[in-house]
Symmetry: C2
Subunit: 105 residues, 2 copies
């Protein structure tokens, strides 16, 4: 099965966070366009997550520690770790999750 | 834990395929720089894989069907599906695997 990112309709999962999603059997990819200033409140989930900043400047807090990430940065978010963030500029992010984020389908 | 792609030392996993790897508990990301003309022979593995073409033109054969993929294209490769490919130009690819590719560590 194949996909073109340009053909995937984005969903606004939380205000200012627009995701194009690709789901496999064991993992989900979320390509985010994030509006400047948009915040994702601290939360956690059983899914392991790897966040990759593609463009922009994203302030991210993992287990209470905040840091600013930019293009080329990756953060490994263990299962159940509390995390949240704020787009300091408009951002493009890629999140990879395992297992699948069923609620994003 | 966090990483900068620019700080990761690439490994040439097969000739012409240079990967910067990030491993979690349940998944591995491989950021490939592929030399023009480099081929990966048909193979299979138990890991599910999602291939994402970042740059270039990559001829990919999945379960006997060949197609050329370019920037923005994604291919879902089910567990145990036979696949291989050839870089028609120099390419940048991202592969996501679950579970972890232990042999790439």
């Amino acid at each position: 099965m194949n996909f073109k990112l340009s053909n995937i309709i984005p969903k606004e999962i939380i205000p200012g966070y627009h995701a194009k999603m690709v789901h496999g059997e064991n993992m989900s990819l979320a390509f985010w366009d994030v509006e400047k200033g948009a915040e994702v409140p601290a939360h956690s989930h059983m899914h392991e997550q790897i966040m990759h900043v593609l463009e922009g400047s994203f302030e991210f807090t993992l287990s209470g520690v905040s840091q600013t990430y930019e293009s080329g940065d990756l953060v490994l978010i263990p299962s159940h770790a509390v995390h949240g963030g704020k787009a300091l500029t408009a951002c493009k992010l890629l999140d990879v999750f395992s297992p699948v984020r069923e609620e994003y389908k």
